[in-house]
């Protein structure tokens, strides 16, 4: 069973976690077109790669961000959830 290192609880099997999907930045709902919004709501970056993702340690309700390679299933780094408010857009891979 895959191990995930929770920044709060340490290494735990992945079954202790809930997956929250890729971290995605929504367009400005007031400024964007319907098409842009529809694209945001439904479309996904479906190709494999390194992705910032939401993960929740279920037993503690602790959410954090993991940078994970979706081909190898290796977690490259984890960040506290506040990361999405502060640095996410800056460090997002191009």
């Amino acid at each position: 069973m895959k191990l995930l290192v929770c920044p709060l609880n340490g290494p735990r099997p992945v079954t202790e976690f809930a997956y929250g999907g890729e971290v995605r930045v929504s367009p400005d709902p007031d400024a964007c077109s319907d098409a842009e919004w529809g694209n945001y709501v439904f479309n996904r970056s479906g190709s494999p790669g390194q992705k910032y993702e939401w993960w929740c340690h279920a037993a503690s309700g602790f959410w954090f961000i993991a940078l994970r390679d979706t081909t190898t299933d290796l977690v490259i780094a984890t960040y506290p959830a506040e990361f999405v408010q502060t640095g996410f857009s800056r460090v997002r891979p191009q």
Binding site: L3, P29, W54
Partner: protein, 973 residues
């Protein structure tokens, strides 16, 4: 014919304990310590099974855990691996896959028909639509191996998690050495071997004293846990392995893993290589060493490696007669050691024929091996059958090569490369924390294996934080232990490559001819390697045949993907004890005595209704409804999600997650909340109460509670608003106490004034009820004056009992989920995910009143703007029709029909005794709905089970008390 030899000090059997058992209904005897197979062959049983396809008689081939010819039915248990299953007294053993018993198997005729049944035959016949079902019935009856007993009881076994620094798989010479080295470095070691004892697959062939010393050290080490008779069934991510022990499964997490899984002896392929009496040399040595069973009176060995000569010497040393060695290699000149061993054999009277191969094995009339025809082979490996000669023998042992047991290594992500020098796939790149030792690593000589194990064990310990690494030098074998093409053609075939599936050389060649010419396609088309032994005897030879047919190298083709399980694992070991979380509300204990009929609701158990003796289900439910409408009722709603949100931004947070407005909600009041997803679809609802300027308490649906709370936590982390969420779902008991009399009953129990002016409809109050802190909400889900009462979980029973007893003389009835469904339907409230589906938006559910589009933002708002323009694709409407209360004509999910088209479906349908009619909701096509609504009679047709149409009308909701005067208590009461 095999037979038991005189006792030996090291044998694994205890001859003082005789074990009686039954084989094919006849009583047999073995010894304590025997396996099923060893006892049977020692008892002189000629055949142990029938082959899968042609039903040929078979006996031992590999005497290991991967032999499909020695699978047995033992009582209720199918497909028992006789080679490794300990014999127990009273066992009822029979061969599988026979019709009318092993010796009289009616299906043995298939062997004679085999030339009409080539691989792929089944794809090319019997496929007319008319004939296939008949033929399939026959085919299904023939196939399958063992039989399950449909009455066999479920057995629960333990599963456990375990941890170690270094896990060593395989307790042969290299594995033992690795385990001891890692332990010496200070690591906690787990050592796993599928055999009952350590020492490897061929215990007698190695210098005994060294191995014994290692085993002694193993038993003395307190750092090593030895899992014997345990199969490492699969490698999973992050050094996580499933260890299948006889009676339980251990899920082992290691910091580092050493694979010392060794090699699996491979058969030579020649005509009739499956006759009883033909077996692998390693099988014979194991029989001899552990069970003191001789493979036969006159033995011939098919040889292509040094191990053949070592086996010969071992057999002769045990006073067995080896008549000849048929050596596939043209000369032994290039290995002094091999030559020396051959000389010793010759000195002992064994004839050695070099550049010779078995052309065919010959069966006696009893079906057992009686001789072998052999002939000279040229450098290309082609046999000259004209020059074949015959040697009488009753045992033909094969020692021609090995294939690595690299399955786990491959699952772990290790890559291999084919080494032409030793004719074996050897490890190429190893993932971090994975180490390989011994023959799997291409290291064959005993001392080299010990050293290689030491190296791997030391390095694995260092990887897990103990001691220093030794480096990666590996001394691979300088001799070639495997023949490059131990395969002999024969015009009459029956030269089996795969013993599980009865696949012959020509089957593979034909398939390759047809274009199934990659290892994966060949496997799928011929099923080579797909039987119970998972190709452990056949994949290597099949690959060689494929390579030769395509004039490619074996390395260019590569192996097929290895997947768990390494050996088949019973479902019970994987299932374990089978935990299924069940949640009980704080007052769960109260319901049983009241006659609760339980129903599952997510992982909760809830009361559907309270059964009263002498009353039907419908009558009980109707009485519960009546009590709420006319007196008072009490329902346990402790399963609702219950959440507190604190902080100065709590209102803002709720504004963002719910469609309505909450920051403007007055303290002491509640408001209905509708939750949407980003696409504007309704996903949950509940009641939000404001207890203080910076504190809200709110509920979610029962089914949504866990996911909703988790999502709110995520949104809180995303937005970073100054507020904090607390999940009280399991920590609060909750009841709905409703009915015209509820206020009067409640007032004496509570320390606040319940008068309408003091505590109006939709108000929320904190008070002490029966002496405990309580939150009360005047909500109207059931449409009567009512209080939703929330108290701390451990006060739940006190309050429940107090309410029950206070209402006892006033007609109180506890009510269940079913009555609540009627009550809410009468009131026209939809249930999220019953009356709505996975695409329903608020426009479609007529829930626009619960949204505030003027707010700057809420989840789903932007999509609602788009959905508003798109227009509804369905419309939820109330419907009603006349009918008897007991009629079951219309059911939820029946369709509304408009001419020949589907116009919608019924989402709720219940009889309202209060209103004396059937009521419900329907989700209709919006055009149809508005067209119908404009008609004076507003009629729709519902198609019932029989196809008969039920006439109904679109109704105005709520059905009951449209002015809400009862719950608002305008009428007094």
């Amino acid at each position: 014919m095999m037979y038991r030899l005189a006792p030996h000090a090291d044998e694994w059997i205890d001859r003082s304990i005789i074990v009686n058992f039954f084989f094919e209904g006849k009583e047999c005897q073995g010894y304590e310590g025997d396996t099923i197979s060893s006892a049977l062959v020692a008892a002189g049983v000629p055949f142990l099974g029938r082959s899968f396809k042609y039903h040929r008689p078979r006996s031992l081939l590999s005497f290991s855990n991967h032999d499909s010819n020695t699978l047995f039915q033992v009582g209720e248990v199918p497909n028992v691996r006789g080679d490794v299953t300990p014999l127990r007294a009273g066992m009822r053993v029979s061969a599988i896959n026979t019709f009318g018993g092993l010796s009289k198997d009616r299906a043995r005729v298939l062997d004679r028909l085999s030339s009409f049944l080539p691989v792929g035959f089944y794809y090319k016949a019997f496929h007319s639509k008319r004939l296939f079902p008949h033929w399939e019935r026959m085919f299904r009856a023939l196939t399958g191996l063992g039989r399950v007993s449909l009455d066999a009881p479920r057995k629960f076994t333990a599963k456990r998690y375990a941890f170690c620094d270094v896990l060593v798989v395989g307790a042969g010479a290299s594995g033992l050495s690795a385990a001891l080295a890692a332990a010496a470095a200070g690591a906690h070691v787990a050592l796993v071997d599928e055999s009952l004892q350590g020492g490897g697959i061929t215990p007698l062939r190695t210098p005994n004293s060294t191995l014994e010393a290692l085993l002694r050290k193993l038993s003395q080490s307190d750092k090593i846990t030895f899992y014997s008779a345990t199969v490492a069934a699969g490698y999973y991510a992050d050094h996580w392995l499933a260890l299948a022990e006889p009676l339980r499964m251990t899920k082992m997490r290691a910091k580092a893993v050493v694979f010392a899984t060794g090699v699996i002896e491979q058969p030579a392929v020649f005509r009739n290589n499956d006759l009883p009496g033909v077996m692998l040399a390693s099988a014979a040595l194991r029989l001899l060493a552990c069970y003191r069973i001789a493979p036969g009176r006159t033995i011939v060995i098919v040889a292509a490696n040094r191990e053949a000569y070592e086996a010969c010497l071992e057999l002769v040393a045990n006073s067995l007669r080896v008549a000849a060695i048929l050596e596939l290699r043209s000369t032994l000149q290039h290995s002094l050691e091999d030559l020396k061993l051959a000389r010793r054999c010759e000195d002992l009277g064994v004839k050695i024929f070099t550049a010779s191969a078995p052309y065919q094995a010959i069966a006696a009339s009893n079906g057992l091996l009686k001789a072998v025809d052999y002939g000279p082979i040229d450098s290309s490996g082609t046999i000259n059958s004209q020059a074949a000669k015959r040697i009488e023998c009753d045992s033909l042992l094969m020692s021609v090569g090995w294939a690595p047991a690299s399955h786990l290594l491959a699952q772990a992500g290790g890559s291999t490369v084919f080494s032409p020098e030793i004719q074996q796939f050897v490890p190429k790149e190893l993932p971090a924390g994975i180490f390989v030792a011994g023959r799997l690593n291409g290291v064959f000589e005993f001392n080299s294996r010990l050293d290689d194990g030491h190296r791997a064990g030391t390095d694995a310990a260092a990887y897990s934080g103990y001691g220093e690494t030794r480096g990666s030098e590996v001394t691979r074998s300088t001799r070639c232990p495997s023949h490059p093409y131990p395969i002999v053609e024969h015009p009459a075939a029956k030269n089996f490559v795969d013993f599980d599936e009865d696949i012959q050389v020509k089957d593979l060649q034909n398939a390759i001819q047809e274009g199934f010419d990659s290892s994966e396609l060949l496997k799928r088309y011929t099923t080579v390697g797909m039987g119970p032994s998972q190709g452990q005897h056949s994949n290597m030879n099949a690959l060689r045949i494929l390579a030769r047919a395509r004039s490619m190298s074996v390395s260019a083709l590569g192996l097929t993907t290895a997947r768990p399980m390494y050996h088949p694992i019973p479902l019970k070991l994987l299932a374990g004890r089978g935990f299924h979380p069940v949640r009980r509300t704080p007052v769960d204990a109260m319901h049983g005595a009241l006659g609760a009929m339980w129903m599952p609701a997510g992982n909760w158990r809830r009361c559907e209704y309270y059964g009263v003796s002498g009353e039907t289900r419908d009558a009980s439910i109707a009485a519960e409804v009546w009590a709420v409408r006319h007196a008072v009722g009490l329902i346990d709603v402790g399963t609702l999600g219950k959440i507190e949100i604190h902080g100065p931004m709590a209102g803002e947070f709720l504004d963002r997650v719910y469609a309505g407005n909450f920051s403007n909600l007055r303290v002491g009041m509640t408001r209905y909340g509708l939750m949407l997803d980003e696409s504007g679809v309704i996903i949950d609802d509940g009641v939000i109460a404001r207890l203080a300027i910076d504190l809200f308490y709110f509920t979610t649906t029962t089914s949504g509670s866990t996911a909703v709370f988790r999502e709110l936590l995520r949104l809180n982390a995303l937005w970073g608003l100054e507020c904090s969420l607390i999940n009280l779902t399991g920590h609060m008991a909750a009841f709905n106490f409703a009915g015209p009399l509820c206020r009067a009953i409640l007032q004496p129990l509570i320390d606040i004034d319940l008068a309408e002016a003091e505590f109006p409809f939709l108000g929320v109050r904190e008070a002490r009820l029966c002496g405990v802190a309580a939150r009360l909400m005047r909500v109207g889900f059931v449409g009567e004056l009512g209080y939703e009462i929330h108290v701390a979980a451990n006060a739940g029973i006190v309050v429940w009992k107090a309410l029950m007893s206070a209402g006892q003389d006033r007609g109180l009835r506890p009510f269940g989920v079913e009555a609540q469904r009627v009550l809410r339907l009468e009131k026209g409230h939809f249930i999220v995910s019953q009356d709505t589906d996975g695409l329903t938006d608020p426009y479609e559910a007529n829930a626009m009143w619960a949204m505030n589009m003027r707010k700057p933002f809420f989840v789903g708002q932007r999509s609602l703007r788009i959905l508003e323009k798109r227009g509804p694709r369905q419309k939820l409407v109330g419907i009603e029709w006349d009918g008897a209360s007991h009629s079951t004509l219309v059911k939820e999910s029946h369709l509304v029909i408009d001419g020949v088209n589907i116009a919608g479906r019924i989402t709720s349908a219940l009889y309202s005794a209060t209103l004396k009619k059937w009521i419900g909701f329907a989700m209709l096509n919006p055009d149809f709905a508005s067209r119908t609504e404009s008609l004076p009679n507003r009629e729709i047709y519902i198609r019932t089970d029989s196809g008969k149409m039920q006439l109904a009308r679109i109704a105005t909701i709520p059905f009951y008390d449209p002015k809400n005067s009862r719950q608002k208590q305008i009428l007094g009461g």
